[in-house]
Symmetry: C2
Subunit: 444 residues, 2 copies
Amino acid sequence: MTYAPKERSERTVRELASRARNASRALVKVSNENRNEILMSVAKAIEDSTQKILEANGRDCQLSKPTLEAGKMSSAMFARLKVSERGIREMAGRVRGVARLADPLGRRLSVTELDEGLVLYKESCPLGVIGIVFESRPDVVPQVGALALKSGNAVLLKAGAEASRTNEALVEIWHDCLARFPAVPQDSLCLLHTRSDVMELLTLDRDVDLVIPRGSRDLVEFVARNSRIPVLEHGEGICHVYIDRAADFEKALKITFDSKVQYPAACNAAETLLVHQDIAREFLPRIATKLIAAGVEMRGCSQTVRLLGEVSISHASERDWAMEYSDLILSVKIVNDLPEAITHIHRYGSGHTETIVTEDFDAARRFMDEVDAAGVYHKASTRFADGFRYGLGAELGISTGKLHARGPVGLDGLTTYKYKLFGDGHIVADYCSAARHFTHRAVE
Amino acid sequence: MTYAPKERSERTVRELASRARNASRALVKVSNENRNEILMSVAKAIEDSTQKILEANGRDCQLSKPTLEAGKMSSAMFARLKVSERGIREMAGRVRGVARLADPLGRRLSVTELDEGLVLYKESCPLGVIGIVFESRPDVVPQVGALALKSGNAVLLKAGAEASRTNEALVEIWHDCLARFPAVPQDSLCLLHTRSDVMELLTLDRDVDLVIPRGSRDLVEFVARNSRIPVLEHGEGICHVYIDRAADFEKALKITFDSKVQYPAACNAAETLLVHQDIAREFLPRIATKLIAAGVEMRGCSQTVRLLGEVSISHASERDWAMEYSDLILSVKIVNDLPEAITHIHRYGSGHTETIVTEDFDAARRFMDEVDAAGVYHKASTRFADGFRYGLGAELGISTGKLHARGPVGLDGLTTYKYKLFGDGHIVADYCSAARHFTHRAVE
């Protein structure tokens, strides 16, 4: 009952998308209980197929070794490609975790009585068909499949070519499970194979509702520039920590250190420290000592360099202020006041997450109202910007766009809404002739 | 204090957008009371400037007369261009109406305690800078300006060239008002002039957050295809009325007639009538009599033509099912059952508004759950799909897209949200080391 890879690759992406669209029509009829039952059975099938997955992954790793040895693949990338028994248990666990989330569908966003007997419901529903493009991480296949199924969407997946055997094994396991649940067509999860498949996908705006690229900045930009379908961009994170004149130094030291050092490769790590001039002389040497001890390289504005000395810190160039280092590097700038901090953030920031440390609540409120970013924090580390930490249960990415979804995106990001209007023969002519009048009463 | 048109046209669109971005930074600081005060003063200024507006409009009409007489401008378009004293009072009234709407900003969409002393607020806020492109209707200038200001956004407006003098007079009145409110920069409302201005606008994804094209299908498609900025598409309306086997005929007759005849030029008017085969023989002659009496031209499937006779109805071609007539024309098809009706709607519909007339509640529920459209109705005319009728207070358009906004879009469509996190020195390392734990408690 599963598609052989050959059979699949013979279908054009257009055909696959059209079949996914049909599958999405069937998915809206499947209850939350049934969706969860399938996810639980997929989780078990993944565990039961440990040997099969490890074998497929072994072949992928084998074939990538020459690339690794030739220095064309980083060891970090190779490590992400490699799947362990524990990793397989974690995949299954994550699928079960998605099954346990609240049903994102059929939520009533508002209920309005338009007139007697004429009631309007705004209800969440699936988007339809999602395209997801990501780079080599086989554990994303079951995770994305689970999020899509839970939210009633069909999904077309393009994964990294290095992991193709592992990905195919995982999709085969998925399809074998679906074969036992005829309500959900196998076409609801489909693997794409090549970059040209992705190019074709991006033109199919009639059959694909949303594209999510996950991976390098190059990948995200490539997709955004070439897509005729809306794109959920997991954007850059150029996050700032601003230490105000009225900061408590203990909190400021902790928050700066955590924002930069706790996991510097994350998009929510801080890249720039802004310090109010009134406290710079006292604060900067203290934070510098802590950061240098943790191996952080600092690049400062000329005032900062004068204050700390060129042994501790190098000169930042204009480019530094706009850099996502994703590493133990921090740019540091002394600002005259809060407005200058905000202007700097708007000029160089990416609208991801910005934090102010101050005991002056008016300054905090001003920062949080005026800074245009997905997250604006008061006395908290930028590293909190994360779907799990926000309590969303799952994370599809962190959007730096402002439309549809902003900041950490959970299952809701895969839903839209529809208006359901229940009447009993109501017509508009009666309201135009003033025979009837709208009540527009919000129903709780 | 106002910009002379000449001075304005010397600025590039890039400069105008950058100034609009700066203006949007100032707008977030303006309270709802102040925004309303400005709108009330603009409304008065419009009334006080009736003579000035009529003169400018007179020149526009004068210059368009040769085009009208040469048949290159429809008389409907000329009528829309022409502004009357009453029209000016209505413009002012609409600006006051927007001032009276609830503040769309700072609404708390959710509040979550992440941990003791660490609280996350999801709050509505302005998008920033909106680009609006519309065809010749001068009354849209104050309306769009009011909606943008009310929602804290700066706006770049491209209006129809035929109305350029009227539009400029209206913008000048607006700017004169703003001169008395220094908190709101005049750059927050700016007029663009040419089609090449629009082309430049569509590339400015760093300074413009959303583009809304209002006008012909050609205009909407042109903008959607050429924009690197998200577009709120006011899409086509190919709406269906489906008369189920279990329909009450009186309701079915009323709803069909209202959906087609009440205002056929609207996008929410019905274009196709689908009738269950079991009741076609009885229902179709009755609705045909009513529609023909109202001057409706009918085009049917072969079964319908056989039933009604070629005198009453012509043969529909494949193209008819996908046509937005925007006129007193209706295509009619007999379907075997509900699934065939749904399949037809998915194949030819534009995802705008679809209605079922039936007394069988299971059939209604199935239709409303399965049909993928912004509006799914039970026993109500498709003509209810409208921001005012939905109680949104204002309407920016009706979106047939699924991202950000779907269906009739009110002021909310011009807002996004940001997460505000209030802590007191909270860092992520404490949660990774399990020194602290998330509570994730929804706060009411």
